[in-house]
Symmetry: C2
Subunit: 229 residues, 2 copies
DNA sequence: CCAAAAGTGTTGGCTCTACACCCATGT
DNA sequence: ACATGGGTGTAGAGCCAACACTTTTGG
């Protein structure tokens, strides 16, 4: 309770996090149950919370990832989306929220982090779009999806959704899943390799009754601007 | 003084505005003198202020434009840049700031709005880059310039820096000024016209001892996504 | 030997770039 | 008549999209 008290002076600023991952060629987001009667009763929403006076907005997102048991924040790539400041976005009181886009490779999640619990679940993004969400979270989701698709085409953002080593087919799945269109396999490989952002490794990945795939990694640790998919 | 009191409950959230215009093929920003001893004594910074509890961040920017006598906010195109939340960005107390990018056509400014006063001036952007600015305004300026150049290449953002009717040469100046490189006149015209976003008007513009130029306007009122300059 | 995904080249069309001169006007 | 910016076309290079078969492996 003393922790909550500590937050009160800053009660007007929150963060919200749209955390995406890709599993089985489908885009999932981590959602929570929001229970704030009388306005929101068991409604779906994104994880979030108040910024404390002693942390930046980015640190606040990291803390919330930890406190809610969502995911170890070191695994997550986070970027700011937009600050939402509509007067009535929270019907109880005036709350501004800095919305964040988060990406995590499903392969790097621990057993626990992959699990759905009564409080929080991995949900198919397309199922969220048809649903009423808490606060202005439908708008935030739309912004997140637009930003994700857009940044994917001119940065190496795909890195944040893949394990350290990955095959070109896995990389292609990231693109086809998010851009929602099929890409020509040969053209995709030529294009990606010509960008000179990947390094072939010694290892191969054997996943079924077929030829094993070459494993690659990104040359640079940071996400870079490229031209262009 | 009662107005300031009214702001206190929201003292932790401010807005800052980087307002650009183009004049004589050069990019200018509207700056103010910041006087907050002991930390900032007569330092240059961007206009800003606290968000009031009864307004959105966007409305706050519009109000500040008005109150500071910067510009009639109806003429300005405004987009959110990023929310700055570093703990020490304001050395006096914890202040988060939602930074905005604003664009206004110099031609549409009134006489008064064009004027420099002791409080506020139009300053060449390149002169600001070498200078120490208040708060984290150097970072905000860098973000604003990056965003401006980037959005110029895939949207019709140039519209926000031009009068309703303009010549293709004037449009080209917007691009060359912001992108800081020369464009081939013939290729530029072919490209722009092929995008089918402009409408030739009946009017011409006569500006000197040479052939008058055709005046164009944008077909759509809103700024759109295009592919690509 | 069958099923399944990995891996690989070529061609035609389109787009982009580079480049130089005539036009309409005011002085 | 001259100085000034407005306005226009073409050719070569490079890039992109469309397309199908062989390879390697496990079962």
């Amino acid at each position: 309770m003393s922790k909550i008290q500590q937050h009160v002076p800053f009660a007007t600023i929150a963060v919200d996090l749209v955390l995406f991952t890709i599993k089985d060629s489908q885009l999932f987001a981590r959602v929570m149950n929001v229970n704030r009667p009388p306005f929101f009763q068991n409604v779906t929403g994104f994880p979030g919370g108040l910024i404390s006076p002693s942390e930046t907005a980015e640190q606040s997102v990291a803390r919330i990832c930890l406190e809610r048991g969502l995911v170890d924040s070191k695994k997550v790539h986070i970027e700011q989306l937009r600050t939402m400041s509509e007067l009535e976005r929270d019907p109880r009181s005036r709350v501004l929220s800095v919305a964040y886009l988060g990406l995590v490779p499903f392969e790097e999640l621990s057993e626990v982090e992959r699990l759905d619990t009564p409080e929080t679940q991995w949900t198919l993004t397309k199922n969220l779009l048809g649903k009423k969400l808490a606060y202005d979270h439908t708008l935030i989701l739309t912004l997140a999806l637009e930003r994700l698709a857009s940044r994917l085409t001119y940065t190496t953002l795909a890195k944040a959704l893949l394990p350290k080593l990955f095959t070109l087919s896995e990389l292609e799945v990231v693109y086809t899943t998010i851009l929602e269109r099929n890409l020509d396999k040969r053209n995709f490989r030529k294009k990606i390799l010509s960008l000179n952002i990947l390094k072939a490794t010694q290892s191969k990945k054997q996943t079924g009754p077929h030829r094993p795939a070459q494993l690659y990694q990104f040359k640079h640790k940071e996400i870079q601007i490229i031209e262009t998919i």
